[in-house]
């Protein structure tokens, strides 16, 4: 059994007296797209933030490519590429300047031609001199993904990357994810789209109230829970989907 590129063990995250993540453990392997699904406030973002090193867990360990994120944070972060929910770049800089900035931060030498090639890969060669606000949502996400993976990281973290994208842009992003997987990268994806999870994820963890309540392949999860009374109650048009299983496991109540 190979070592996971991302290993999360016994993770606990608290905000004051509120425990957002409770004893969460999972691993993401090279050549795998792993989906972390959960309703609003379930603990997805807190888990992801702990992996990214943006918050310190109360207990538990996170290792990326063998580096503990608390003991060797820079080494761990050097091995991961992160696409945050918002594009989060300085609006005054051009796309080429942003790409060069992050290339330098990750220790990658990029000449002007290389920047152009990177942009050509995502059909945005004309955007080099534009500001991020001049791009559409889908174009911004493509730029963001190029920047996240500019250093060819072993682990790619994608936080709801397809939110607000049209079907064409979403499909293009799925293809990029699959490209990373096929090249041996580990991809951790959070999403609210069950269709997306079913379409691209090799394995899925469903998190609710801070705990992982199910972890398996989408097909196995559907098979395992297709006869649960809670799932059967929410099935539409007679066919059990991942969304039915998700709602069956996490409940029908709308989360704030």
């Amino acid at each position: 059994m190979p070592e996971p590129i991302l290993a999360v063990n016994g993770l606990n995250v608290s905000y004051g007296s509120f425990q957002a993540v409770k004893d969460v453990s999972f691993g993401v392997y090279g050549g795998e797209i792993f989906g972390l699904l959960g309703p609003n406030g379930a603990g997805k973002t807190s888990t992801l933030s702990a992996v990214e090193g943006l918050l310190h867990p109360v207990s538990g360990t996170v290792t990326v490519a063998g580096f503990d994120t608390r003991e060797k944070p820079l080494h761990a972060r050097a091995n991961m590429g992160v696409q945050l929910q918002a594009t989060s770049f300085q609006p005054e800089l051009t796309i080429a300047e942003i790409i060069r900035l992050f290339a330098s931060i990750y220790g990658v030498d990029l000449e002007d031609d290389a920047v152009k090639r990177k942009l050509a890969e995502i059909s945005l060669e004309e955007a080099a001199g534009k500001k991020i606000s001049q791009l559409s949502g889908g174009q911004q996400q493509r730029v963001s993904l190029v920047i996240s993976t500019i250093h060819d990281p072993q682990l790619v973290l994608l936080d709801e990357p397809t939110t607000g994208l049209d079907p064409q842009s979403r499909r293009q992003l799925w293809e990029r994810m699959e490209h990373f997987r096929n090249n041996g990268h580990a991809v951790l994806l959070t999403t609210h789209s069950m269709e997306e999870a079913e379409a691209v994820c090799d394995r899925i963890a469903i998190i609710d109230h801070g705990r992982i309540i199910a972890i398996d392949t989408p097909e196995a999860l559907i098979e395992k829970h297709r006869h649960d009374p809670e799932v059967l109650k929410v099935v539409r048009k007679g066919k059990v989907t991942l969304e039915d299983v998700f709602i069956g496991l996490t409940g029908t109540a709308v989360r704030p």
Binding site: L74, S88, S104
Partner: protein
Amino acid sequence: MMETRIPKNSAVMAALLRADFTTLWRNRRSFRLVLIVPLIILISWKGLIDKLGGVFVLSSCITIGLTSIGLMGYSNSIARDRDRGVFQRLRVGPVSAWTIMISRLSVQIAMIVLMTVLVFVVGYFVDHIQISPIGYVAGLLMSMLGGAVYLGLGQAIVGRIKNPDTVNSTTRLVYFVFIMIGMFGEFGVLGEVIEKLVIWSPYGVVRKVLAASLAPATWNLETTWALLASIGYTAVFVILGVKWFKWESK
């Protein structure tokens, strides 16, 4: 375990500085505001130089410039970028937090130097204020120390307040209070009590230290106390600013 490439601090710092200076340059409105206000006051006070003294005018204009850099420039840029998630995006890379902040502060220090030199140049050519070469050098060094007081204050405000609009309105208010009460209070227009308070306020101590450094022969015990008070203000503001500061605004 595969080989991990950690970029050199110097390379990361150079990249951040290049980006931060470009951002500052393209943010022309705030860039101009920070530089123009002290110059307008300097030029408009030309007729008062005989009455107030060149050193008083120069030190007042530099203090006003430092206030705008720390309050209007630094704190607003930090609040805005924090709210946009720019810091979070940098922090998920192999960059230490201190590198990000040092780059931001370096840009402000460059602004302090630029503003001070501009005040000296305009003061010399337009207002015909001449001081000794040592005065210029000491004044430049002390403007950086004075700048630390206001950068510290800006840090404390952006540490305490998360919303960028509230940071903006708060810093404008504090800026206005500092300038109006500082200038008029020092002239004694607002009464004796206010005058005494202003002298030992962040505005008063910075202006006093600057004035004495521009004319080193006038440095006395009271100036030394003002210098210690400036260092004390800086320490308090920085400690509170760092303690309160959060990297995200949500």
